[in-house]
Symmetry: C2
Subunit: 336 residues, 2 copies
């Protein structure tokens, strides 16, 4: 499957958002805190050629808006707002998880220290929660206010999901349902906010707004489960990670929690402690024999189907709607 | 001087804000993240009888609004918003400064770990930046939006001040002017936002809004300098700290930076390294002989006078205006 992210419309959207993000961060700091600005620029991937994020979230917001109005340009700032909020949460996540690398680059806290990185995250969060207000020179104040409140509520859900995620590391009794609730906050809430706000700013009817929200929510859930699947059964040459890397890292992902739900050879081994790289493939096979691989795939397929159903409820059959469907399938079918 | 904080009007304001804060935090978390809610309740001082903050910032906002409209009750939520933002910044500050105690209680990060405390701060920040929107059922949407944008801009200034503060610890070339710019972000911006928003929500004329802003700004600057003064020359029996405790802690406060501006016996000793408790009083005397005590006092008096002048420009001579003057003098003349 070719990457639809290279479609001319998506390339155009991505560069509009990138430009707006750069300008926003460039214009927000006085001389005395220029180094704080540079920290944000480093995290955003602008200080070297290595890696910017894929900016998936802005594209989802803009594409929903394009489908409903044909005028994505009028809400670029909302897409930037969400990308800044997403990146604020990455900066703080990396500190919380002690992650030293992201996209093959040293993480911000590892580069500037925990204290300055917490503060840089706070600055990016503040800018994100301001950005959407730039829309009031064009759009109705009530629509912007509604979108702001959705974003703010989403941020609260992010912290609730993050609380659970950190708590799960210490707990032995986490269930697959707990996990779905946790990713409902962590991964899903922000993706659902993208698609919902794209519709809200189009002044969409309630049933359209709801369908857009459901599209994003199911897309987010499916996306996380595909990630979990690939973290164990993905081909190293396609994921860029070692075999069953999530097992080696001890991640309590969805398939692992399915495997741990009963007493079996996988759960017996898991409880003995850290899994070594040499045994990872064997233990992935043990986990598969519990039915966890099939369960994860079928749950991911279920959410994918619900996402596509919700999409068809509001998107019609314009070229942009087809592009969104392609993008969705591409995001959710990475190599399985 | 008796503490005007016990005036019946201020007691009434304080308990209205406290009730609103408690309700807000109580209603914001689902069962699965109840422990996150408890972290905020611990930080706010509600889990034991030891110490809640003085809630000075909410009182300033409400009192400005009362002076201008006679109806402080209509903006309680704005006062809560600012108190939540203030406390978010304290939670993150304590991590950044590695402070283990605040008001004689163990700080949140020391109790729950850095990762969860960063997240709890993020949650409180989010709630603070939402709270002010509750006013739109009563007040004009444009006034609320303007107040929100002031708060948001203030948060950005907080991060800029915090960046400078953390950076100063490592630098040897900080000047007293750099320091005033830093506290302009850290201490002052939020106090100025209180008095400005109190006026904005009263739909005040521009000259009144500006006078209220200047009142808060000068009050904030004076407040910090009084704090710096007392941290070196305050009487232990009144400050509750040891003699010249800021010198022992190596704080680059305003008087220290005045002393370091030239070569003298104080600056020679400072450069030799950590000051011991036994020599603190002697070194405070060395610092005084450089003129730093007099400079700090006269700078604080200057800002105090400017604050009182600004207050008289918008406050008139109502009983509430007199109460605000009393509160200002009390905040700025603690024992000097």
């Amino acid at each position: 499957m070719t990457n639809p992210g290279n479609h001319p419309l998506l390339l155009e959207m991505r560069s509009a958002v990138e430009l707006d993000l750069r300008k926003t961060i460039q214009l927000s700091f006085p001389e005395s805190s220029r180094a704080l600005q540079r920290m944000l620029e480093y995290h955003m991937g602008w200080t070297d050629d290595l890696a910017q994020g894929k900016r998936i979230r802005p594209l989802l917001l803009l594409l929903v808006h394009q489908i409903l109005t044909g005028n994505w340009q009028s809400v670029t700032e909302a897409a930037s707002a969400i990308e800044m909020i997403h990146n604020f949460s990455l900066i703080h996540d990396d500190i919380q998880d002690k992650s030293e690398f992201r996209h093959n680059r040293v993480t911000l806290w590892k580069k500037v220290g925990i204290a300055q990185a917490i503060n840089a995250g706070d600055a990016l969060f503040t800018l994100g929660l301001k950005k959407i207000w730039d829309l009031t020179d064009r759009l109705d104040l009530d629509l912007v206010r509604k979108s702001y409140l959705i974003l703010n509520q989403t941020c609260l859900r992010l912290t609730q999901g993050q609380y659970m995620d950190l708590d799960f590391e210490k707990r032995m009794d986490v269930t697959a349902d707990d996990y779905l609730e946790m990713i409902g906050g962590k991964t899903t809430a922000l993706i659902a906010a993208c698609t919902q706000v794209g519709a809200v700013l189009a002044n969409a009817r309630p049933e359209v707004e709801l369908a857009a929200l459901n599209f994003g929510m199911n897309l987010g859930l499916a996306f996380q489960l595909v990630d979990d699947y690939l973290g164990i059964w993905g081909k190293p040459e396609e994921t860029g990670k070692s075999i069953a890397s999530d097992l080696v890292e001890g991640k309590k992902s969805f398939p692992v929690l399915c495997g741990l739900a009963e007493d079996n050879t996988f759960s017996q081994r898991w409880k003995l402690g850290k899994i070594q790289r040499e045994e990872a493939e064997h233990i992935a096979n043990l986990l598969e024999s519990t039915g966890a691989r099939e369960k994860t795939k079928s749950k991911a397929d279920e959410f994918t189907q619900q996402a596509l159903d919700s999409l068809s409820q509001f998107a019609g059959s314009s070229p942009e709607a087809q592009l969104m469907e392609e993008l969705t399938r591409w995001l959710l079918q990475r190599e399985k």
